[in-house]
């Protein structure tokens, strides 16, 4: 299944090194439209513009956490179906459970490999395509 490489992606993480790594890996997978935010709080107004087809976010950020950002996206009428991937060091079972209950589409724990990122993205967009087909 070919994922549309022209999609707009928002990368959210308070560490610039991590944003760079995620972007570089996504670029190697063929994506090229990226924006960045350094916190859920700076990301949220950007997300509200409706520009993004895919959000990749960290959990642990000072002003607004990734899980909070996810919840806001899922409760917004216009944004609720936006594919959302968490890439985070948070690895407690209770946290993973919370993330799935909040509607996350994928969960990657740090440190991660390019292969993992690739396979999770494919899974996410497969599911998105399935949802569209069944509508």
């Amino acid at each position: 299944m070919q994922v549309n490489r022209e999609i707009n992606i928002l990368v959210v993480d308070d560490f610039s090194t991590m944003r760079k790594i995620v972007k570089d890996l996504l670029r190697e997978l063929g994506f090229h439209h990226f924006d960045e935010a350094d916190d859920g709080a700076t990301a949220w107004p950007m997300v509200q513009t409706g520009k993004y087809d895919f959000i990749v976010s960290d959990w642990n950020m000072p002003e607004m956490t990734g899980i909070d950002l996810l919840r806001r996206v899922r409760t917004d009428e216009n944004l609720k179906d936006t594919p959302f991937l968490l890439i985070t060091a948070e690895a407690k079972r209770s946290q993973i459970l919370e993330a799935t209950q909040s509607g996350v589409d994928g969960y990657i724990v740090k440190p991660f490999t390019a292969a993992t990122l690739n396979s999770k993205i494919h899974k996410i967009f497969e599911r998105v395509a399935e949802r569209k087909n069944s509508e």
């Binding site: 956490t65 948070e90 209770s94």
Partner: protein
């Protein structure tokens, strides 16, 4: 520091007499008598202060010195060890990659010159030299590991020292260090911490209830019907 006791003037008179008449051992006894009162007052004061300190420590609540000493300081040390180990691992991996790449460049050089002798070997040579120098830069950049390692070791020493001082203080105040209880967080507090994010689970304690790899995460996700 003032004392409430009045100096016994009679004893002083007797002391003076003993000194004037050269009765030194008698003078010694009298001097001891005089200072004994002061000494016991001093001991009393110190004992009062110790009792106060004990009571103060008793009255402290959970986020107190006691809990911080027993739990947070060793926790901080474990985290710093983790930083050292992780950066060392990363450095080693990077160095290995750089070395492998350099070896590959050697082979590439040989192979290329063999197959295209006649087209532009000088240009190729330049490119290869540039790549080699990039790789060498990568290796040199790893020297940060040594510097940060030294700094972190210092921090660990400082914290260790602080820990010892605090343990000593706790002992002096007649508290039992080994009787300091575990941190008691309510389920709500734990849950609230987790929602904010607790960072990488590096201490032995924090590994409880956490997944250790993407494979484990994926297992959990599929158990949840993902």
């Amino acid at each position: 520091m003032t004392f409430s006791t009045q100096i016994d003037q009679n004893l002083v008179k007797l002391l003076l007499e003993a000194l004037e008449s050269g009765e030194l051992s008698q003078a010694g006894v009298l001097l001891d008598e005089l200072t004994k009162v002061r000494e016991s007052e001093l001991y009393q004061r110190v004992s009062e202060l110790t009792q106060n300190l004990h009571q103060t420590l008793d009255g402290l609540n959970d986020s107190s010195l006691l809990l911080q000493t027993k739990h947070d300081i060793p926790d901080a040390s474990e985290r710093l060890e983790y930083v050292i180990n992780t950066t060392a691992e990363a450095s080693n991996k990077t160095l290995e990659s750089a070395e492998n790449a350099l070896n590959l460049m050697s082979s590439l050089q040989e192979a290329t010159f063999k197959s295209i002798a006649g087209s532009d070997p000088e240009n190729l040579q330049n490119m290869i030299s540039q790549i080699n120098s990039e790789l060498t830069e990568i290796m040199l950049a790893q020297s940060f590991q040594d510097l940060t390692g030294q700094v972190l070791n210092r921090v660990i020493m400082i914290i260790s020292s602080l820990e010892q001082s605090l343990i000593h203080l706790i002992d002096q105040s007649v508290h039992d260090y080994s009787a300091i209880p575990d941190r008691d967080k309510s389920a709500e507090e734990k849950s609230s911490d987790e929602m904010k994010g607790v960072g990488p689970n590096v201490t032995a304690k924090s590994k409880n209830g956490s997944t250790q790899s993407q494979a484990e995460v994926d297992d959990l996700l599929s158990d949840l019907g993902f």
